[in-house]
Symmetry: C2
Subunit: 213 residues, 2 copies
Amino acid sequence: MAPPMLRLSYNDIHNAIARTAPRIMSEFSPDLFIAIGGGGFIPARILRTFCKVTTDGKKRNIPIQAVGLTLYESLGGIEEVVGQEVVRVQWIDFSTLGSKLKHGGLLGRHILIVDEVDDTRTTLVYTIKEMQKDINKQLEAIEDVDERERLRATTKLGIFVVHNKLKPKAGEIPADVAYFSAVDTPDVWLAYPWECETDIEEHDMLRKDNPTL
Amino acid sequence: MAPPMLRLSYNDIHNAIARTAPRIMSEFSPDLFIAIGGGGFIPARILRTFCKVTTDGKKRNIPIQAVGLTLYESLGGIEEVVGQEVVRVQWIDFSTLGSKLKHGGLLGRHILIVDEVDDTRTTLVYTIKEMQKDINKQLEAIEDVDERERLRATTKLGIFVVHNKLKPKAGEIPADVAYFSAVDTPDVWLAYPWECETDIEEHDMLRKDNPTL
């Protein structure tokens, strides 16, 4: 028997993100998004619409940096395999991020990592660890101890996923990392609209047969 | 009077990309996508679904690298201003792209730059020029003249935009760069679904009042 499939329309995703954004803004107040490609690209772009910040009386977009990890590339972005190695194919561009911002670009910021789904948690845990290495490297470069500790205390990492599958995870999110999921689901196949190779209107129509979750 | 607005649903975008993908595959056959963020993130992720390549009997995704340009950041991704300076905030990650691929990662490839709209053409022309600089730098590193010319001849650049606004452009696409647009539109305000901050279902409904274009 095929595993149960949860079909999702683009508007489902848009609305799930719209509903979650106010909580992200009030509890985490991000000022940098890290989109994990390719799955995080669409959620990050939608989330940005609902997370504008006002500076000098102007509404401004929160910048998005993209990172790429081969785990997704090789498997078509649909599922993770526990224990599979994660390899970077693109990382944050510090050459530009660092030149315009103090302290290498990450320190003192509220950095939200965005992906479509938290499945086995492998890529999210990998991304968090790598980000923490980058942050620690930038902290070590601060000579003034007080300033270094002030920056350590004000640099925040968070995660946003559209869907969190309620299942055993291959790794743990550190306690000091904020975690937001728009929807918690059982361990079903999530049929995202952007993966629909056939008729998207039919996909949306069939979605009405979704099991009640 | 407000300028005419063309409302677009997510499915409009999905279908426009699905319709154009076979032409992109047969005429250009891309093996690397460059998504211009944030506008190109959603089109690139959707396009990838329709451009899988088969190697060793397995369907594989074409990798996406993201680039960020401040022109978009500062203006909320909606419109360009002629003459405005473009500044990189993220560029291709050669540290990873280059280590796994011969010749620095770009040579011999068919590289498709993806964005949502070709408005004044400023960012697209900028991106093409910067990519050509990178390609030339990688070509110069090839010592064998025959191999260098073979790689020069087989490296291709292309552009895909969902919408091309039929209006005067601030720059020209070089003749050897392939160009694909899913839809050509008059110079109207394109209301993309991912920019909808209010009710996406209402946005879709009001879309029925779109002027015939």
